[in-house]
């Protein structure tokens, strides 16, 4: 399962790689990373059909996660539709409503609960 993680914080990358160490080793998941919405879109241009899940931060300089979500739902409105989960430090109702309105599948708050995330991945892959 290919997962694209979009976050402007570079250290998110080693964190995911280590948290999913076993899963990566067992080839259950494969991670790609983008540090901005723009970068994520560029990546999706080529490989949107491979990506099963997109985890995106909302609060990023430039294109926000919500805008990225909007693009994903409009520009790549063809099957297979990726699952999009929004992540934010501001876990308020307004952010949640916006994300859901724009077509997010799930909404997670920082700090990320990786065990919860793994549970959710299981349901997706099944």
């Amino acid at each position: 399962m290919k997962i694209l993680v979009v976050d402007d914080e570079a250290d998110v990358q080693p964190l995911f790689l280590q948290r999913f160490r076993k899963e990566i080793k067992n080839h259950e998941v494969e991670f790609s990373f983008a540090q901005s919405g723009e970068e994520a879109l560029k990546y999706l241009e080529e490989k949107h059909s491979e990506v099963v899940l997109i985890l995106s931060d909302i609060n990023m300089p430039g294109m926000s996660g919500i805008e990225l979500l909007d693009h994903i739902r409009h520009d790549f409105n063809m099957p297979p539709q990726p699952v999009v989960m929004m992540i934010t430090a501001y876990g308020d109702a307004e952010n949640y409503r916006q994300a859901m309105d724009k077509g997010a599948d799930d909404f997670l708050t920082k700090p990320l609960d990786f065990n919860l995330l793994k549970e959710k991945l299981k349901t997706i892959s099944e």
Partner: protein, 440 residues
């Protein structure tokens, strides 16, 4: 004719006594002057009885000369100099009269009238001079009176001015106290703007600290398992990951630490101590804080942040928290401007805020100072208010949202305290660029 000299001497004492009547030195001289008047009369009778008129003429001249020369030596009678001088012609005339009448009686008899005339004229001269001297003295008296009047007036005015000055000084002290208070309020207001940004900025590194330490504990369990299995190579790989994680924990710990320190510095009263500072660090830090501060307050807000920081920027001596406040103010304004424009602009509008730093060189090529540019593509500053934006309490924000002190304090900090410059390039509807120059 020696009558004239004695009369003149007598009158002289009388006149002086009268003139002195209201002066402070009168008691000192009253007795002496009265006595000398009587002595002169006594002498006249005495000489008249014992000597011929020719001898008396000479004696009279000597008596008068004696009195005049005595008075001239006394500093108390300085103001009578004109009067005293006026007696010389009479003394000389009387003396010549006496000598000629003794030595050349025939010649004298022949020119008798002429000698008499000379003495009369000399005597009359004294009166004329006395009148002039009296006038002069009156004039001096009037001038003195006027002078003391003026002195009283001057004293009054001085008292008034001193009072006014004291009042102004009190008012100034009060104003300075108010200003200090306002500056503190402005700092607190901007701290309020920052709080959300700071919370976000601290939360992020804290999340990393938590996450990396958790994952490291898991990794250690895994490493133990690998070692038990005897897979030394895998255990070594895990160990190197753990080391990397610890490095990350430390890095994010310091990051949070720096933010807290920066926040404390921001709210603390300025120490006014200049320290060698890398402007890039402050610019980057406040750029993010300002962005997240606004972002946390208004979820719909977003902007592209561009930082072009000159990696060779020289370190300069500045009061870093003051300059940091200036930058924060500029960033907040820039974000506010793009946010403002986004409300009215179409969907194609991309809010953009850029900070750049540059080294400014002299003609000879050595660093002269640094330049910080804060540029936005926001709503711009209307020409009508361009002159006013640096004025204290001027704000375009709704009541209660801005203190109106941000730019005015920025001006004080950059221009007055750091001898730098602030230039503004702005076009209404297109954007604004603030250019700050700080000398090396």
């Amino acid at each position: 004719m020696f009558f004239f000299t004695f009369l003149a001497a007598f009158l002289l004492t009388v006149r002086i006594r009268r003139s002195l009547k209201f002066s402070p030195i009168y008691p000192k001289w009253r007795a002496a002057l009265t006595a000398s008047g009587w002595i002169i009369i006594g002498l006249w009778f005495l000489f008249n009885y014992y000597f011929d008129s020719e001898v008396n003429e000479i004696l009279g001249a000597l008596v008068l000369a004696g009195i005049v020369s005595y008075l001239k030596k006394e500093p108390d009678f300085k103001s009578f100099e004109v009067l005293l001088f006026a007696h010389y012609p009479l003394i000389i005339a009387a003396f010549i009269n006496g000598v000629v009448s003794l030595a050349f009686p025939d010649f004298f008899d022949k020119w008798d009238n002429f000698f008499l005339c000379a003495q009369l004229v000399a005597f009359g001269w004294i009166f004329a001079r006395f009148a002039t001297s009296k006038k002069q003295q009156e004039e001096i008296k009037r001038v003195n009176e006027r002078k003391s009047e003026l002195e009283v007036l001057v004293a009054q005015r001085t008292a008034e001015i001193t009072k006014q000055r004291n009042e102004l000084q009190d008012a100034l002290k009060e104003l300075q106290a108010t200003q200090a208070q306002l500056i503190q309020q402005e700092k607190l207001a901007s701290l309020g703007e920052l709080t959300a940004g700071i919370a976000h900025e601290i939360q992020n590194p804290l999340n990393f600290v938590n996450n990396f330490s958790e994952v490291s504990m898991e990794l250690i369990d895994e490493m133990e398992q690998e070692l038990n299995k005897g897979d030394r190579e895998e255990a070594m790989a895990i160990a190197s990951d753990i080391k990397q994680n610890l490095e990350k924990i430390r890095h994010h710990g310091y990051r949070a630490d720096g933010i807290v320190k920066g926040m404390l510095q921001h709210s603390r009263a300025s120490s006014n101590v200049r320290e060698p500072t890398n402007i890039n660090t402050i610019a980057d830090e406040y750029f993010r804080l300002a962005y997240h501060g606004l972002r946390a307050k208004d979820k719909s807000f977003n902007a592209e942040l561009i930082a072009n920081l000159d990696p060779n920027l020289p370190v300069i001596n500045i009061v870093s928290q003051d300059v940091g406040r200036v930058l924060l103010n500029m960033f907040t304004n820039a974000f506010y401007a793009v946010h403002d424009k986004k409300k009215t602009a179409g969907p194609d509008y991309k809010p953009k805020v850029e900070v750049s730093t540059h080294t400014i060189h002299t003609i000879s090529g050595s660093p002269n100072g640094i330049e910080i540019r804060v540029k936005d593509n926001g709503s711009g500053i209307p020409d009508a208010i361009k002159d006013k934006i640096m004025q204290p309490f001027f704000t375009t924000k709704p009541a209660g949202e801005g203190t109106g002190l941000g730019l005015s304090l920025s001006y004080d900090i950059i221009v007055k305290a750091h001898k730098g410059k602030i230039d503004i390039n702005s076009k209404e509807g297109e954007g604004t660029e603030f250019v700050i120059f700080l000398p090396a």
